[in-house]
Symmetry: C2
Subunit: 334 residues, 2 copies
């Protein structure tokens, strides 16, 4: 019997790493049969020991394809680090990046395809042929655009920009960040299918990914923000901040760097309201512990509801996704 509900057929999500990937699991469960497209952040991408590593794309691919280490939230399950130990024995830098042996298989295939001239989007599609993540995974751009963080020079007065991964992994985001910059953004364009996926969707969702270095990075690719303003689909987001703290990761350090408070309402205000012309959101989900923020968010012109936002298992994650889709449906342009 065909469904008579208005269940969305085409859902597009912008995603960073583990938070975005887990939320998309819930989306798939909440909307069975829907075509889900994930636009992945590539600002974290980095050349390590001559290998092209795409942490967020791989996290989405492994998480949805059943290969992720659930415990770590990045990289492969049953991972070993033999190659990393060998590189350390040779004394080559950097030694701080967690390059697993299984993971290196992925990086070798990617690097060789890139060096042969394939764009990252084609490479990602080829890798997904193995993992079958159940979504269409599109890099935000095929161009090289990498997030760098401006920090103080150690024992000096000046400042220098280091790669986001060095700041995040090596320094655990503990170095004060004066600015976060997407190097190469000016020359980047949305990857193949990205604009079409946003403008052709029934719903666009912003999962609880990092609003600065995941979603924020995707929005910096010229054309993507414009496409979110233009799409007829409702755009709804899920707060990554619960009770004034990031649920996972160090988003607070990133928000501080761009002068945004670490609260659910401040992040909504940072994204801005489509109806008022200040930004990209039609709807925003906050955690039940942040229900006091609902009125403030609605005052911005963004529909807002509070729900439990902890992705502790697939059931709770599916409930979150269902709530996000319902919020979108209620706020769709008729």
């Amino acid at each position: 019997m065909p469904s008579t509900s208005a269940a969305p057929r085409r859902i597009t999500a912008l995603a960073g790493g583990i938070g975005g990937a887990r939320f998309v699991r819930g989306l798939i469960a909440a909307a069975p049969g829907a075509e889900v497209t994930v636009i992945g952040n590539t600002g974290d991408d980095i050349w390590i020991h001559g290998l092209r590593v795409c942490p967020d794309l791989d996290t989405v691919m492994y998480t949805l394809g059943g290969g992720i280490s659930e415990e770590r939230g990045w990289g492969r399950e049953d991972e070993t680090f033999t190659v990393k130990d060998e590189l350390a024995a040779y004394g080559v830098e950097p030694a701080w990046f967690g390059l697993g042996d299984r993971d290196i298989g992925t990086h070798l295939v990617r690097t060789q395809m890139l060096n042969a001239g394939y764009p990252l989007s084609a490479v990602t599609q080829a890798l997904c042929a193995r993992w079958q993540p159940g979504v269409r995974l599109l890099p935000m751009t095929d161009e090289r655009a990498e997030t760098h963080v401006v920090v103080n020079v150690r024992d000096g007065d000046g400042r220098r920009a280091i790669h986001f991964q060095e700041w995040w992994v090596r320094y655990q985001a503990r170095l004060e960040a004066h600015a976060i910059v997407l190097v190469g953004a000016d020359d980047a364009k949305p990857g193949p299918g990205v604009v079409e996926a946003i403008e052709g969707a029934d719903v666009v969702v912003l999962p609880p990914s990092n609003p600065v270095v995941s979603i924020g990075t995707i929005l910096q690719v010229p054309g993507i923000r414009e496409s979110l303003l233009r799409t007829p689909a409702p755009v709804v987001g899920v707060s990554p901040i619960v009770g004034g703290r990031p649920v996972r990761g160090m988003a607070d350090a990133c928000l501080t760097a761009i002068g945004v408070q670490t609260t659910a309402a401040a992040v909504a205000a940072h994204y801005g309201s489509r109806s008022s012309g200040s930004g990209i959101l039609d709807g925003w989900l906050v955690d039940t512990s942040d229900r006091d923020a609902v009125a403030a968010v609605e005052a911005l012109g963004i529909a807002c509801e509070s729900r439990p936002l902890l992705m502790s298992d697939l059931l709770s994650t599916t409930a979150m996704a269902t709530a996000a889709l319902a919020l979108a449906e209620h706020n769709a342009v008729p």
Copy 2:
């Protein structure tokens, strides 16, 4: 008390993989305190999954540096093949090459240095800084010159050239070889220090390496054969053929491909005699089981003796090296 013997101070050996490497162990033991230079074959080198692999250089480096798998005779001890399995899971070719995880550490360092513009000789020196092989290891050339084998097209009339590694590893040298060609030889020149190591040596030794695709390949680099003809040092070789069979590997298939019989005497004749102007040898060691060949080799103008030529342990290998050095000393130009 300083030695009063005429022990050579500077020994230069041309070497392929495991046979050459093990013989050099014996040389080091036979001539303590000597400066040993090994000129390594790079005709086997290959790009695999975007990694530059130098099987013979690595075998020498690992064997003399204590990292070799003694059992396999190539690659690292305690090796795992996780990355190889992952590449196979992606379905990328070639799947027949034994790419170990520990080994990949070496290949990543090498590939990144080569891509950064360092010549192979500098890369090899950098890798040896870790392994401390106790010899100076020089690639025969810094240029890319790779051995290819001409075989029949399967199910067809034509012929095609495949990389030596494919013939050797994938097909176990079982495809009939119509020719063995060093592609790129015309543009290759001896690597830094190679000619000086040959012309400045007290003794030049050809270990029992493959006379076609190891020693023969080195001799094809323009300038190296000329340097062996010119050096004031005696040049002595050790037969890799014992009792009409290669001691190790499939040298018979290679000899057949170039029209040379698989006998100790035929290999000596193939190398030729310096004194008669037909080649590069002053002396040649054959196995005791080939003592009947001694007269035939001497008739070519090459000093010849028979000794046990099985490198079953360091003691027997050292005895072989001692015999080779003694043969050289007796045949040195006064």
